[in-house]
């Protein structure tokens, strides 16, 4: 029975890995192909020209813009989501259901309706391009960060903070020395999601930027709309995968370094990037 389970586990793992790697395989082949005729199963000539072309003038700027957009959205939506989640979790607002409904409305409504509505507001207020796009994307990212942090606060024990206060910690010290470390995995997860919203956005950037604000997704879409651009599209897509993958690995390493294995399994609150252990009940 145990052996059958082990075998099933291995098979499941192989299927999962194949599931994730299968789309990447053609991307890798195309990105590394200098010459690849349709009849050959593999490229005839390999090289780094396609990847290098991504960082050519225009491409590099688009990557930087996407990075800036993802970072800005993460930097704004993560703390905002954390604050809203705390207010909701600790019931510091009178009608939490109403607040939750308003927050999650952008997810429930058609994205075009939301973006067009906000587009009008942003244009009327003369908000500069990058800031306008970032702010609209924060609205889109906020439900995700709030949801993640709300789940974290549901298993977060405020008694840790009370204990710290009776030990002499000011509210600032409690925030930095207790709350932040305890919620770090959830915050990292929320920041990751928010970054992805900014990093991979196409519609908001296109509508608000009017085609003048070129980011990596705009570039990918533009290249993909033409024919014979498979190597370029593949290289752009691989580059688009790099930052999120790098963030995941860094977060995992940091988590491993900051929190010892046994404590990790004991009482870390909230969902994290790699796992979601749960702490005991709230105070």
């Amino acid at each position: 029975m145990t052996r059958t389970r082990r075998v099933l586990g291995v098979v499941l793992m192989i299927v999962l890995v194949a599931w994730f790697l299968t789309p990447l395989l053609p991307l890798g082949l195309w990105a590394g192909a200098e010459t690849w005729s349709g009849t050959s199963p593999l490229p005839q000539r390999w090289g780094t020209g396609n990847i290098a072309s991504v960082f050519a003038p225009g491409g590099g700027a688009a990557v930087l813009r996407s990075l800036a957009l993802g970072t800005a959205v993460a930097a704004l939506a993560t703390p905002a989501g954390a604050v809203v989640a705390r207010v909701l979790a600790l019931r510091q607002v009178r009608r939490p259901r109403l607040v939750e409904g308003l927050l999650f409305a952008p997810v429930a409504l058609p994205v075009f309706a939301v973006v067009m509505g906000l587009n009008v507001v942003v244009l009327r207020l003369h908000v500069p391009g990058f800031l306008g796009i970032a702010l609209v994307l924060v609205v889109a990212a906020l439900p995700y960060t709030t949801f993640l942090m709300r789940a974290a606060y549901a298993s977060y024990d405020v008694a840790f903070e009370e204990e710290a206060r009776t030990l002499g910690a000011s509210s600032g010290a409690v925030r930095w020395r207790v709350r932040l470390p305890l919620l770090l995995p959830a915050l990292a997860g929320a920041a990751f999601l928010a970054f992805l919203v900014g990093w991979s956005d196409y519609i908001v950037t296109l509508l608000l930027g009017g085609g003048r604000y070129v980011t990596l997704p705009i570039l990918v879409a533009s290249a993909a709309s033409g024919t014979g651009n498979e190597p370029t599209v593949a290289a752009l897509s691989l580059v688009a995968l790099a930052p999120p993958a790098l963030m995941l690995v860094t977060a995992g390493l940091l988590r491993r370094r900051l929190i010892p294995r046994r404590s990790r399994s004991a009482r870390r609150p909230g969902p994290a990037l790699s796992s979601s252990p749960v702490v005991e009940g709230t105070a």
Binding site: A159, A164, R165, G168, A173, L182, R262, S263, R267
Partner: protein, 387 residues
Amino acid sequence: MSATLTLHGLTRDYGGPAPALSDLTLRVPAGSCLAVVGPSGSGKTTVLRLASGLERPDRGDVRLDGASVLEVAPEERGMAMVFQRPLLFPHRSVLDNVAFSARVRGESRRRARADAEEYLDLVQLSGFGSRHPGELSGGQEQRVALARALAAQPRVLLLDEPFSALDAALRAEMHDLVRKVRAALDPTIVLVTHDQAEAASLADCVAVLSAGRLVQHDTVDRIYSRPTSLTTARQMGGRNEVPGEVCGHHHHSVLGSLALPVDVRPPQGPGVLVFRQESVQVTDPDAADALVEGTVVASRPVGARRLLTIEVVGRAMTPHGGCVVQVHAETPPGHPVWEGDRVGIRLSPHALSVVPEEIGAKRAHTSGMPPRKSEAPVRSGRVSSGP
């Protein structure tokens, strides 16, 4: 280090049918240990939360050495609290948990850790500093929590049922540790517990709370021997309640006319005689000094001892109870008494106390039922006296 804590007229209302705490006034002298006991929901934890500043009272004052600290933030009151759960910070090692208060005071990491080592040594956990909370047992975690609170050098140490989640052996160890800490550091301690034995074991004084009100505040000895209410007697584990009438300096009941101790001066009229089951001596039914005789109707072990329920049949119905009363007695090991045995009961006059009757608080110890018709013969031989 230690300070006198005074709670004056503390009231806290959460909007329920009754306030969580009503007009509580208590004084805990510097270096003493007060145990606050009471059933769940009696307001015990609220006392600590108001004292520590984690909550603000609706009315009343909290004073340290006579000075009000009501406007002082919790972190500046100098009252460290140990909760029921250890609440060790999982992202810090044991040593850094204990060093936490020194770090937030601005001490260097090296100095804070050096001090923390001393407190770990005090709770007999030297060498555990590099471990993380997840690597400790429940008892060790609570020891670290105690060390962490002591390292904050509090003027008052607040303990909120810190040992209730531990098994009996660990609890006894922790009690020894608290005694050691008291001897070494002489802190003022307020201990909240629902365990009357723990309160008696650790505290100098006990405050009994019921429904948010202070019922009695007295020394451990007096709270056991001279309860002022049925609530206190029951909260402290007392089982014997005999309704009757106080006339002169005697209590008249199914047990007869019993002279009261000189320091017990209840008002004349109806009153409930209370005495501890440990103070009841079980004798041979024919013993000359037996107060009354009765039949053992239940016998169950309480650790090494046995708790007997003895049914005593009065000679006549009394106005304040039936003609049958149940008396509970604890007997030491080695004195087998069985259900159905007839035994005599002896009561020490000093163990008696009288409290007012409480409406709706009647226990099933007495009844207006007539005596049981079938009375089993004595199976054992002579029954020697109890403790």
